[in-house]
């Protein structure tokens, strides 16, 4: 990861940004975006406390990231999501199907935008802490079919991504994703994506 140009598209509060900087040994550059100014305070506190030196932060909607005019070799999309019941006891009473669908749509918009700014040989890591297939496998299946992306195998614990959901059969490569059910950790979903070669 050293000397790469990395985009952290939904960065606040900054735990993953700091981990990225550590992986990169403070070399190259991270561009960190978030849309919420209050959350940027937490992000910048993290950066200062952990002596991160390779990051530029912008108050910016990830859906406008093409305006940066930068091509990135790596993009982290830890997109806004519905969360899950493991971290929120009132999750079932607080969330509706409409919330999930709205989030899924927002996630697709962010994915679509970032495809334009990843280098041809670059990689996008997409993650959520939601367990809803609409925000996870179904979005990845949509990206494979509409954004000319392909999934890449990842070395990470967790189970294979689901390929049969709500009576629908998804692209078999969705299996490359990892779905981490809440047990030893809270629930999580992660996928690595690359541009498909023409």
């Amino acid at each position: 990861m050293q000397n790469k140009t990395v985009l952290d598209a939904c960065a606040a509060p900054g735990g993953k940004t700091v981990q990225l900087a550590d992986l990169m040994q403070n070399s190259g550059a991270i561009v960190a975006l978030d849309i919420d100014k209050r959350r940027l305070t937490a992000l910048t506190n993290h950066l200062e406390r952990c002596r991160v030196a390779n990051t530029i932060v912008y108050l910016m909607d990830a859906r406008k990231a093409t305006g940066l005019n930068i091509k990135f070799s790596r993009i982290l999309l830890d997109v806004p999501c519905s969360g899950n019941f493991a971290t929120d006891k009132q999750w079932f009473s607080r969330r509706t199907l409409e919330d999930v669908e709205r989030n899924a749509q927002l996630q697709r918009e962010i994915l679509s935008e970032t495809v334009n700014i990843v280098k041809d040989d670059g990689e996008i890591v997409y993650s959520t802490c939601s367990l809803e297939p609409e925000e996870d496998e179904l979005n990845i299946d949509w990206a494979i079919k509409n954004l000319h992306l392909q999934t890449e195998p990842i070395e990470c614990y967790g189970e294979k991504g689901l390929t049969n959901i709500f009576g629908k059969t998804l692209d078999p490569s969705v299996e490359n994703c990892r779905r981490i059910w809440p047990s030893q950790t809270q629930g999580f979903f992660v996928a690595k994506l690359k541009k498909r070669k023409p």
Binding site: R51, A53, T55, V57, Y58, L59
Partner: protein, 160 residues
Amino acid sequence: MKTAITDFARRFGARIDLVERLIVSRKNRHYLVNSVLTQLLRKDFYYAGIYLGKTKDAKFFPSFGLLSMISKTNANRIVVDAKTAWLFVCGRDIFKTGVVQASGSRKKDAQVLVLNENDECLGFGKILHNLDKTKTQVVIKNILDIGDFLRRERHARTDG
């Protein structure tokens, strides 16, 4: 901006050399960037590179990154033992008995960086009594310590 930073370093008897063109400012906050970041930086950035500090009412307030950079020079500094380090980051002043080592100015009113035994800069303070003449008194008044990271988050939550 460079002047305010070098003037601040001089308070510790240190000289710090920063390249002017690599110091960027947004509102009253100042940052040190490298040549890679310079190429990617737009005017509307929120934070960039290493935060150096802020100016308010013509006064300069340093960041911990800057203090750490100054501590790598020949600045006035004291090293404190583990218990004193803990009390210092909780906002307390320093007793002479907690000082393990001192270098640079030891005179009253001089400003000193406070480091733990792992050579990590914990903040800075002001000498209240000549370090050579006193044995048990409070000798360093706490001006700024890294416990500020936690305190400022608590304030942000209260404000928010």
